[in-house]
Symmetry: C2
Subunit: 226 residues, 2 copies
Amino acid sequence: MAESRSEEVKLLGMWVSPFSRRIEIALTLKGVPYEFSEQDITNKSSLLLQLNPVHKMIPVLVHNGKPISESLVILEYIDDTWPNNPILPQDPYDRAMARFWAKFVDQQIYVAAMKMVGKIGEERDAAVEATRDLLKLLEKELVGKDFLGGTSLGFVDIVATLVAFWLMRTDEIIGVKIVPVEMFPEIHRWVKNLLQNDVVKNCIPPEDEHLKYIKARMDSLKIKSV
Amino acid sequence: MAESRSEEVKLLGMWVSPFSRRIEIALTLKGVPYEFSEQDITNKSSLLLQLNPVHKMIPVLVHNGKPISESLVILEYIDDTWPNNPILPQDPYDRAMARFWAKFVDQQIYVAAMKMVGKIGEERDAAVEATRDLLKLLEKELVGKDFLGGTSLGFVDIVATLVAFWLMRTDEIIGVKIVPVEMFPEIHRWVKNLLQNDVVKNCIPPEDEHLKYIKARMDSLKIKSV
């Protein structure tokens, strides 16, 4: 509605959420200044409920008063709105592949990985195996590439930080190495490449505080770790 | 890779699939000629397995030898590749809203609706209620609009043909009217608008053959209807 170009960019997110961190990475890569509003998922604010009445979840990007939710939708919006430093490839086929793999991370890998939470014994092993089977497809995609986006960091890399910095940190919590280097050398090489990017490096939660948070959250939900 | 503009467009699909029909609607709206290859979901072809090794599912669009799968990804590809008669809005915020609602149809409404299949009694009633709760949000979106895309048929309308012509035809099978007109007058008005579009009208499976197919499929899977 508003035609004003005076940018007001606000992000409702959580420091510990991979979905929220994606948006921070994209905005920072674009050089878009934004105000960050930390949300409490255990006590949702009336602002969050008002801005995302359908899902009532973070992240929500508010641009000049208009709210957008769902992290993949927000990333596309950011690329459409601030076309400098594009995060999606320009070629239509490459764009399709980026969208395909981003969807794969969220709807396959993330869904499979969540099934490990709170499981023990055979049930946990089956969930680990299912997650690894999906990760093998990502491993194959990385052969001969520095990034999932090809030669430079892009859309899928930003989305797949969920794998690099959330899934790979849960070894201690799940009680098993989900992404061992012997099995996934390409993924480990890619994580090193990601860490060479200052924007990514500064946008991911510090490992010790991150693990402390997850453990406390699991305790409060009475989820057994191992 | 190929720079040739001699278009070879092939769609691996199924006449009865809402996901496949979306692609046919989009290609027809764009005036892109395509070859259709009907697939048998009960006996997957080696071509399908080769072109979509990750999901092994239709639809797959093959453009000049390169395969793209996942219907929402294909629709974006079609709009990026043949920009005439755009199906996504041009404004970044409107594009985001279209992507948001398309995702909502596939990841919320479709998922909830599938939970009705094969259920009876209280379990079925709960699944119907959950589906209706989601449909109420779509109903609200349609107030004052001819189409979910606004004044003309667009991305969300194409995606939501799943609601208009699949979900609304299953009353007899589920044994209950899921989208009664008294409860969803806006959705019923929108379905009438959709049927005024010749492309949509010609791209949806005829109701009697469609229902015959669903019944036969449920019988073969030994799913009880009511």
